[in-house]
């Protein structure tokens, strides 16, 4: 190897290789950084909102000032209106929210001493609209513990509004799920204490959700005579961006709750930006690949006679190609390692900033980035190896 390398390293242009190295490093770094940034930031917008599927929309009736005050105008849906909605071509299935018709109070206790409590309410939607682990999301009569899904904004209100001013500790989602909660149900002359357990938070549902089975049982027990017309409906639609939906909603004076839209817009925006940046990175990588190939081709060209002589001495094409192939592969490895090094340094820096902004943020996965880096390295190296071999094969020998 020593002598062959001594021969074939003649005419290597350090400047060209350095040019390739820097360009490829930039390309690789940009691609990996965009990927990692997307991985890290993506969950901030989409985190754990798996309770309600993207293709579900929530509609309510518009409440006018007068109607709301006088109570003359009902804001609930009649069963006929829900049926009409169900007949629309864009709707796959539809169901009303069922609200609790009795009084609910909730107490959070520490060491079995109830610390604070609040009046509240429950709502339920049919279980097929709730995208969660079915083993957690179920209730049957006689079960003392009620699973609950809370709006994520509640936690924010507590953390940034209440806890701050009352010198109470801030809580994250994991902690809340472990706090014991007592739920007191009152109505129809009855009172019952049950345990509540928060199984998750949703950014899309502005309500306190309990399983439908529990709602039927509790409404039947604590408010047997109440009218349970839903004020909101949830529908599964084929395409949430369908303009027919907007038209229909306008005609009937319904409103779609768009609280999820911001997050999905942000995610979409993040995806687009990441994709654009990654494309730029890839473009730089491809250009740097051309620099390397041109440089190697030039090298092979300048060393043609030497390569030819080696082949005529009985060296195989594979053996003669090896030094240049190793050269490119080693450079690619170095590029990959340095790019990853810089990436993780940068990531440490931006993660600190993100954590300051989103204390609840989960760290994104690193594996996809490593795989992407590995795949890029693999593809570029294979192409290099193949191109060098091909070029040397073309030398007459």
């Amino acid at each position: 190897m020593g002598l062959i390398w001594k021969l074939l390293r003649q005419h290597i242009s350090v400047l060209q290789l350095a040019g390739f190295f820097v360009a490829n490093l930039m390309g690789m770094l940009i691609v990996l950084l965009a990927m990692q940034f997307y991985q890290d930031l993506g969950p901030v917008f989409t985190s754990k909102d798996s309770f309600i599927h993207d293709d579900y929309l929530i509609a309510s009736k518009r409440i006018s000032t007068m109607g709301g005050l006088t109570g003359g105008e009902t804001s609930s849906f009649t069963s006929g209106e829900i049926e009409d909605l169900g007949k629309c071509s864009f709707v796959n299935s539809v169901a009303g929210f069922v609200a609790s018709q009795y009084k609910v109070a909730c107490y959070i206790g520490i060491d079995n001493v109830e610390q604070f409590g609040t009046e509240m309410f429950f709502e339920a939607v049919p279980d097929e609209f709730v995208d969660t682990d079915r083993s957690e999301w179920k209730w049957s009569e006689g079960q003392e513990e009620v699973p609950i899904i809370l709006p994520r904004t509640y936690l924010a209100i507590y953390n940034f509004g209440f806890a701050q001013s009352h010198s109470l500790p801030k809580m994250n989602e994991g902690v809340v799920s472990q706090i014991g909660m007592t739920v007191v149900l009152r109505g129809h002359g009855l009172e019952q204490r049950m345990k509540g357990r928060v199984i998750g938070f949703s950014s899309r549902l502005n309500t306190i959700l309990v399983p439908m089975e529990f709602m039927h049982w509790s409404n039947g027990r604590f408010a047997p005579d109440a009218d349970t017309c839903p004020t909101r409906v949830i529908m599964s639609v084929a395409n949430p961006t369908d303009s027919a939906i907007t038209t229909y909603m306008k005609q009937h004076g319904y409103e779609i709750e768009e609280d999820k839209l911001d997050a999905s817009r942000m995610t979409y925006f993040l995806k687009i930006v990441s994709a654009v940046i990654m494309s730029v990175g890839l473009l730089i990588s491809i250009l740097s690949f051309y620099i390397l190939m041109l440089s190697i081709y030039l090298l092979v060209q300048k060393n043609t006679v030497k390569l030819q002589n080696l082949l005529l001495l009985g060296y195989t094409t594979a053996r003669v190609s090896l030094p240049y192939q190793l050269l490119t592969v080693f450079m690619n490895i170095a590029v990959l390692l340095i790019a990853l090094g810089i990436l993780f340094a940068l990531r440490g820096w931006y993660m600190r900033m993100l954590w300051a902004m989103f204390p609840d943020m989960q760290e994104g996965k690193v594996l996809p980035t490593l795989i992407l880096g590995g795949v890029l390295f693999g593809i570029v190296s294979l192409m290099n190896i193949f191109a060098v071999r091909n070029k040397i094969n073309n030398i007459q020998h």
Partner: protein
């Protein structure tokens, strides 16, 4: 026959347009004026060029069917060619030029190679960069390189064009010793000046 001679009707040759066989253990002298295709013939034998009509067979096998790997093996084990243009590496020292072949074949011990350097009078040049040596000295290095491999035939294309009588005799001796040791055939080309101390079994006019 080389493709370039195709239009030449009055070509007289013992090789082109004839069947000719080279056997192991024999010594052949191919004599010709320049431009009649000596080096071309050598290129065909070593698989470097294939712009000819007709067929070249090694042990009955058409060499046009050989792939890269087969040629590499043949050049390493079966046919040694001492190129007219030497094809040495001027960046390397004389010794390294030999080593680059001997590393590939692992055929000779350093001591034996050193012995040849001494017999050819260039023992003080082993560490000299080849580019700085005279053409005659380079011819001797090229010959040593041709010998550090096993072969069935050694083909020497005008090996002594720049050597004096004494050195060409020594060279012929060494080459002959190696060929005899390996039971190999020798094919030497010449445009007039040929190794006079060799006993040729056949003299062929190209």
């Amino acid at each position: 026959m080389p493709a370039v001679f195709a239009g030449n009707k009055c070509l007289t040759s013992d090789v082109w347009r004839h069947d000719i066989a080279f056997d192991k253990g024999r010594t052949y002298l191919v004599e010709a004026a320049s431009g009649t295709g000596k080096s071309t013939m050598c290129s065909y034998i070593i698989g470097y060029r294939n712009d000819y009509s007709g067929r070249i067979l090694f042990d009955g096998e058409d060499i046009r069917s050989y792939g890269d790997a087969r040629w590499a093996e043949i050049r390493k084990r079966s046919i040694s060619l001492l190129f007219q243009e030497l094809r040495l590496f001027p960046e390397l020292t004389a010794w390294e030029n030999i080593a680059i072949k001997n590393q590939l074949t692992g055929h000779k011990q350093d001591a034996e190679i050193r012995g040849w350097f001494e017999r050819l009078g260039i023992e003080d040049k082993t560490d000299c960069r080849l580019g700085l040596m005279s053409y005659g000295q380079q011819q001797r290095v090229a010959m040593i390189r041709a010998l550090v491999q096993p072969f069935d035939f050694i083909v020497a294309d005008e090996p002594i064009s720049h050597l004096d009588e004494d050195n060409s005799c020594i060279m012929a001796d060494i080459m002959h010793e190696e060929a005899v040791k390996q039971g190999a055939g020798m094919i030497v080309t010449s445009i007039g000046k040929h190794m006079s101390n060799l006993k040729y079994d056949y003299i062929i006019k190209l």
